[in-house]
Symmetry: C2
Subunit: 342 residues, 2 copies
DNA sequence: GCGGCCGATGTAAACGTTTTCATAAATTCG
DNA sequence: CGAATTTATGAAAACGTTTACATCGGCCGC
């Protein structure tokens, strides 16, 4: 396959001139440029990007390391990342399933020379010093980080604020005995959502310690199990705030099995606003987070870091999490001919 | 940052030896190897992957070009691709939103020297000759292709078979007036599903031309609109086969608004088995496709092409699409009635 | 007519690897 | 004991670009 030398030969110029034409430096004579382009087209010349980045030390690509790819959450992150990157003519080098320190370290290492920076979402099991070691080689933007890392930008979700809003809403509807299905302790999102829940209660003069709190692993089955425990308590709580929608779905199942009507017998609020939420019966009131925006923001921050002439200190950004009121909390009248739960 | 030369100097050997140690060629003396590794660790040496691929002409990466990233379908494809690639220690260079010929061509071009092959899913708007031009430079595996391309592998979904199974099922349940909400003409998936529908009718002695068929764009709103038209017809069809689940959901909405009971007044079958399907009320009978497997297969085929010593002709594979019976078709409620095939 | 400048182009040295070939030392063997 | 073989290592040429620097006309102003 033709390389730059072949094009130069065919056009009767030096390789420097060919290079100049392709990087549209304006120092090339119009006629010469035309000749070069013609020759390039004739031998179907494609520049080799590896060689390019070797000399320029720029790749026009970002690495993306995620703990997993399953489900809407990651899908939307990637979509946001891709969209913004594409807009800036950057490529995305994707790698997922990074559970431990070595995984992350090796994946980052394997990207050296292929990316200009790393967008990193690490599970709790990854330690700050791995991130620090990688940071020595590459700019980093952390997604929803569990710790602040020196020299790394970060984009996070306002878990605390969202949980606070959800809980306040239930309180304002008159509920005073509100249970929570929390996420695993140690998980940043889980902990922040729990704090938001507790603060809201406290501000209403209630004791968070007396609020029934079950812990789950963010999956539907855990929500179901936690729901059974909560619904067995007497007096039964009148409302439940679940740390995510999947567990809320599990809870709805448990409630349905016991013949409870939602929201009349039990008000339910979730978190995430996954697509299913609006199709549930009744549609789930939940906290909506702009995950797509999270991805976009991460790339925007990365671009600012990479393309900035001056090395300004990296940003820390928090995206809002807003309550979306549907029917499962009881704030709205049911509309239409929705079939009643059994 | 340290390069191979620095390591060589620190270890008191030549760069060739360092390279040999890292590519674990067994020709290096044990002591020397130890010294090299120590030196490499001391100066935190990371090999530059761009330089590596420039000399070896191998990248250990595949490019993935998709028309879009929105929704579970693409998410699962990517997950499958990533999982299999990671297993083989390959990276994934992702790029989406490729609408037209130039987009695809330029994206492919920008990957030269960074990938060993391309996994390509093109919308109908991309022409075979663009694929052929790209194929000259890079091995290609097509996902669900609308045309056969010389020298390209392909992995497709058995749209025809799935649609045939869905329609046959409705016929066996006793329905004789079955409408279809089809996808846009020209779209491969849409066309194949429609053919499957028609063949099933024909085999039951019915005239496909007389079956009410509305066309939608695979989105929920289109399903709703098509549903209104279909339900307005007299006599009203007793069953509808929707070319995908999103449109089936739109149809269910339309039916609900008219006070129809599913499946008693109207049986509904979808296609895709998206996550929501099982959470609908009633749970949607649909055609399940292993999208994750589609991604995995594509990579497996790519690996076979790239790592094979002999250039065997590329494969063509079709993944099964199987009917998943839930409640929206009425088969489960009428167990007694379904025993006798007509 | 000449120094200086400018615009267009070429020469060659990087960038950081792998790998072929050469070489030196150590080992085997008849 | 010397020739043949093996083992371990180094020197240097690739790979395909970009870019600093050199070169060379032509043109300007004086």
């Amino acid at each position: 396959m033709a390389n730059i030398r072949d094009v130069a030969r065919a056009a009767g110029v030096s390789i420097a001139t060919v290079s100049r034409v392709f990087n549209n430096l304006e120092l090339v004579n119009g006629d010469t440029a035309r000749r070069v382009l013609q020759a390039a087209a004739a031998c179907d010349y494609w520049p080799n990007e590896a060689a390019k980045s070797l000399t320029t030390n720029r790749c026009n690509a970002f690495g993306v390391l995620l703990p997993d790819l399953y489900g809407e959450f990651y899908s939307e992150i990637i979509r946001g990342i891709d969209q913004r990157a594409r807009q800036a003519r950057y490529q995305i080098l994707l790698s997922s399933s990074h559970a431990n320190n070595d995984d992350v370290f090796n994946a980052a290492r394997a990207m050296l020379g292929r990316v200009d920076g790393l967008i990193l979402m690490t599970p709790d099991t990854v330690s700050p010093d791995v991130v620090a070691r990688v940071r020595k080689r590459l700019p980093i933007v952390l997604l929803n980080p569990s710790f602040a890392a020196d020299g790394c930008g970060s984009v996070a979700i306002d878990n605390y604020g969202g949980a606070y809003a959800a809980t306040s809403h239930l309180l304002q509807l008159g509920h005073r005995d509100i249970a929570m299905i929390a996420g695993p302790a140690g998980n940043v999102d889980a902990d922040d959502r729990r704090r938001g829940f507790q603060t809201a209660l406290r501000e209403f003069g209630l004791d968070p310690a007396r609020a029934e709190t079950e812990v789950g692993d963010f999956r539907e089955a855990a929500g179901h199990a936690a729901g059974l425990t909560i619904l067995a308590r007497r007096p039964r709580p009148t409302a439940v705030f679940a740390a995510n929608d999947s567990m809320a779905i599990g809870l709805l199942g448990a409630a349905r099995e016991q013949g409870l009507r939602i929201p009349d017998d039990l008000a339910v609020v979730g978190f995430d606003d996954i697509t299913i939420a609006r199709y549930l019966n009744p549609p789930l009131t939940t906290v909506t987070v702009d995950i797509f925006g999270l991805g976009r923001k991460a790339v925007a921050m990365m671009l600012a870091t990479v393309e900035a002439a001056d090395a300004h200190s990296p940003d820390r950004e928090v995206l809002p999490a807003v309550l979306t009121v549907r029917e499962s909390c009881g704030a709205k009248r049911r509309v239409g001919l929705t079939q009643s739960p059994r």
